[in-house]
Amino acid sequence: MTVGLTHYLVVSTLLFCLGLYGVLTRRNAVAILMGIELMLNAGNINLVAFNRYVAPGAVNGHVFALVVITLAACEAAVGLALVMAAYRSLETVHVDEINVMKW
């Protein structure tokens, strides 16, 4: 039995859903960002796997994957800056305690 497209898609689905679970259940904002990183990785696996099995001659999937990696880095940078700012003014990184805008 050889490894095909479906195998990669199954693993990436599982990884994506694990990331989603992390995003939904974590209190710590940094942990939520880690969940998002897992989801982006799952997406990247898809991009590269489709590139390999659907259009192996081109590198479009690789280019998209590189752009996604770039966006992930930017997202981490800005997101973590927000965490730092929240921590500085509210002294917490737990999203359920950041509730000054809520009443």
Partner: protein, 121 residues
């Protein structure tokens, strides 16, 4: 097996063998070395006084700013690698593209510089 996969198979084997060879001396030590557990021994070093409080203290946000600028420029460098090996085949156009790309990022560097994000006070 394609060359790429074979190349990185070696990398994987190197990683595994490296971990094994690093763990072996630790196991040897675990077997050989004396074990005499005194509570004082496990105190952390703190210039000779009994450690107090937690190791963690409020650190400066500047550490984060440097890490941030690092991530942005590290990402920028990944675009330079493919450019570096093909720009000669693609001629002047490729060069101008890179000038624009780097020009935009140098604005970012200038901004960070100006705002004092690169300053350690």
């Amino acid at each position: 097996m394609p060359k790429v996969v074979l190349d990185w198979l070696y990398v994987g084997v190197f990683a595994v063998v490296g971990v094994v060879l690093a763990v072996v001396p630790l196991v040897v030590v675990w077997l050989l070395a004396p074990r005499l557990s005194l509570p004082q021994k496990r105190l952390t070093y703190e210039s000779g006084v009994v450690p107090f409080g937690q190791a963690w203290a409020q650190f400066n946000v500047r550490y984060y700013l440097f890490a941030l600028v690092f991530v942005v420029f590290d990402v920028e460098v990944i675009y330079l690698y493919p450019w570096a090996i093909v720009f000669r085949q693609l001629g002047a156009f490729a060069f101008y593209e890179m000038v624009i790309f780097l020009g935009i990022l140098l604005v970012g560097l200038a901004y960070a510089w100006r705002k004092g994000a690169l300053e350690w006070v």
